[in-house]
Amino acid sequence: MRISLLVLYSIAAWFSLFWINGILTWQLTPGGWTDDHRVWSGFFNASFWPSLVFRTIVALTIASLVACIVINTMHEFSREQMRRLQNRAAMLLSPMLFMPALGIWFLWVIPSDSRSWVLGGSAAMTMFMSIAVGASMLIGGYAVAGLIRQRLYINGATATLLTALAFGATAGGEFVREGVRKPFTIREHLYSNSIKPEEVQYLRKHGSVASDPYPLKDAEKYPTDQLRLGAAVFRFQCSTCHTIGGVNGLTHLAGTWTTDQKRMNISKLQHTKAFMPPFAGTPAELEALVQLIEWNHAGAPADWRVGADSKSLDEIETWLAEAGPNAHSDKPMETHK
């Protein structure tokens, strides 16, 4: 009975992976869905299969390593029995041999700009990718050489360490998977800040927060209305990925730029950093955001100037027009299907 239930359980669990994998990969490579918006065109997309097989192997790997830990807690077995059981469990590690090929397949089918970030374009993503690859190689190497070929016994501490490495590799891989989607949540359809590409022009003309019904939580802490506007713009357009002065904070990233540099770099956001969406607000909103960053960088003083004359606003308008309303990567997807 237990075995039947376990088999049913693992099939059901794998199907969870199957469905979620379809959704996650669709977000990065929506493929045919872009044209017909049908469920299956999006579900069975270019990165679906490599990702599905890769994730299945990751699940087998973690299961096998956890089994090695559990076996160590079964004191009713002799050491020899434990070793034999572990070697049997370690067979589940052998599919790791296919991981490099699957990884390359995945990288091959994702958009070229996403690929370029993990291959050196973005330090963080390249680093996490390297950690994932390195940790997987260590586990794979130990599995093949130690557990499968030499049939070694693996004690609880080593098995735990290897499991921790496997989780580290998984975390690195998930970070990369999440990161390479930027600046989109759904490639070409929805930016990370929930603005749609086709809304950018409208918001640039009519304002991104003009009809925002939600007041600021801390409105009274800002000395001017312009800063309050900047805070609302920050909340709407930037806060999904950035804080003001904390992790990935705007004052750290842009605080040292000159005022004009800020105006231009934010106007041309998608060119400043390819994994950022285009700025989607009016020149006045952009200026308010610039002032907010400067005010915070100056230590949030009680008095603050009102920034920007009409000349700077015109300049911002020109830069926004030069940058265009599309993301840097808004072009037919370069995937190798």
Partner: protein, 364 residues
């Protein structure tokens, strides 16, 4: 809307409403087992486990055995309605989620803790061991599921109360305060007991075939009492909740959309009371009486759920969403959903059979 649910809505909207209510009904059945079952076990923990021949001990041992399964069933049965609720109501549902934020997300760890506590409840050591530990684990599990029920109720009511959204956001409040939360929660909580009684009665009916007559009689009377007290408390709290609702909601609840279903719910209560009355006096669980109680319970849950939906539909600008429902219906995938619903139902039924057979063998 002056027509009976789900007539009068455009076809896609009617389809999603029907799917939502049907799948939510399944969730509620298992959720009731968990909510009332863990509360029962917490109280049962106050007394040391009695020898196996008393009625209560049998009810608790069944509950202890099945609770982890019931929790996973309640949780997985929540997935389908959570998809349909998003297709149907969008902004209202999401805004409530976002406003409650960490408070809302905390149901995830709380459910994980509750789930593992139900495994601890199964341990013999705990049942016969230290009183304090038994209380912590028993009441801990009940509190986890009670908190989850509270969170769903709070989220639902907040999703309909657009007037407080901006103020709540500005204040950074993560608790929604409304005087109707408690009576509504009381209604769910009390209503969970009759469902629990029906399900456990079926379990007793199929596992106690060889038990001594006095034990079977005691179990039958206990379970009938649980059901009758639960039903009475459910009706009382439903009446209190009804009077405390805003007048528009009250009109919607008894309006044309849900009136026939409220009648079904009322009949369900009467049928259940009659069935349990007979069980109590005859001191035995019979297949016919249990079938009656089950039909009654399903009717009551269905009627309550449709009245619940009528109130929501009247509280929001629902017509504005019709075009989005129509759009969703063009995307495809419905056949696969239906196919997997059938496969999953078969898999769950098979699981039940396997576990029941294993348990019967253990008892033999």
């Amino acid at each position: 809307m002056n027509t009976v649910f789900p007539i009068g809505f455009p076809a896609p909207t009617a389809l999603y409403l029907t799917l939502f209510v049907t799948t939510l009904l399944l969730h509620v059945v298992f959720m009731n087992y968990v909510l009332a079952g863990t509360a029962f076990l917490a109280l049962a923990g106050l007394v040391k486990r009695k020898p196996a021949d008393t009625g209560n001990a049998t009810i608790s041992s069944i509950l202890r055995d099945w609770m982890p399964f019931a929790v996973s069933a309640a949780i997985t049965m929540g997935v389908a309605p959570i998809l349909f609720v998003q297709i149907l109501y969008k902004e209202n549902f999401y805004t409530a989620n976002l406003l409650l934020f960490h408070r809302w997300m905390s149901i995830v760890p709380v459910l994980i803790v509750g789930f593992y506590l139900t495994y601890l409840l199964k341990s013999n050591k705990l049942a016969t061991g230290q009183f304090a530990l038994r209380i912590v684990v028993g009441f801990g599990a009940a509190a986890c599921f009670g908190f989850t029920a509270l969170s769903w109720t709070e989220n639902h009511l907040l999703s309909l109360d657009r007037a407080v959204w901006t103020d709540m956001y500005a204040k950074g409040d993560i608790f929604y305060r409304s005087r109707v939360i408690l009576p509504r929660l009381a209604m769910w909580f009390c209503g969970a007991f009759p469902t629990l009684a029906t399900l456990v009665a079926w379990q007793l009916f199929s596992t106690q075939k060889n038990a001594p007559e006095p034990q079977r009689q005691r179990s039958a009377r206990h379970i009938a009492l649980i059901a009758a007290i639960g039903l009475t408390a459910f009706v009382a709290s439903a009446i209190v909740y009804f009077w405390m609702m805003p007048p528009e909601s009250r009109h919607a609840a008894i309006g044309p959309m849900s009136k026939p279903y409220l009648f079904v719910a009322g009949c369900g209560v009467v049928i259940q009371l009659a069935a349990w009355h007979l069980v109590f006096h005859r001191r035995r669980l019979t297949c016919v009486l249990l079938q009656l109680a089950s039909f009654g319970a399903l009717g009551t849950i269905l009627g309550t759920l449709i009245a619940r939906e009528s109130i929501r539909i009247s509280a929001i600008d629902f017509e504005r969403l019709y075009s989005q429902h129509a759009d969703a219906a063009t995307k495809g995938g419905l056949l696969v959903f239906v196919a997997f619903a059938v496969v999953n139902a078969a898999a769950i039924a098979w699981c039940f059979r396997l576990v029941r057979r294993g348990r019967v063998r253990q008892l033999d």
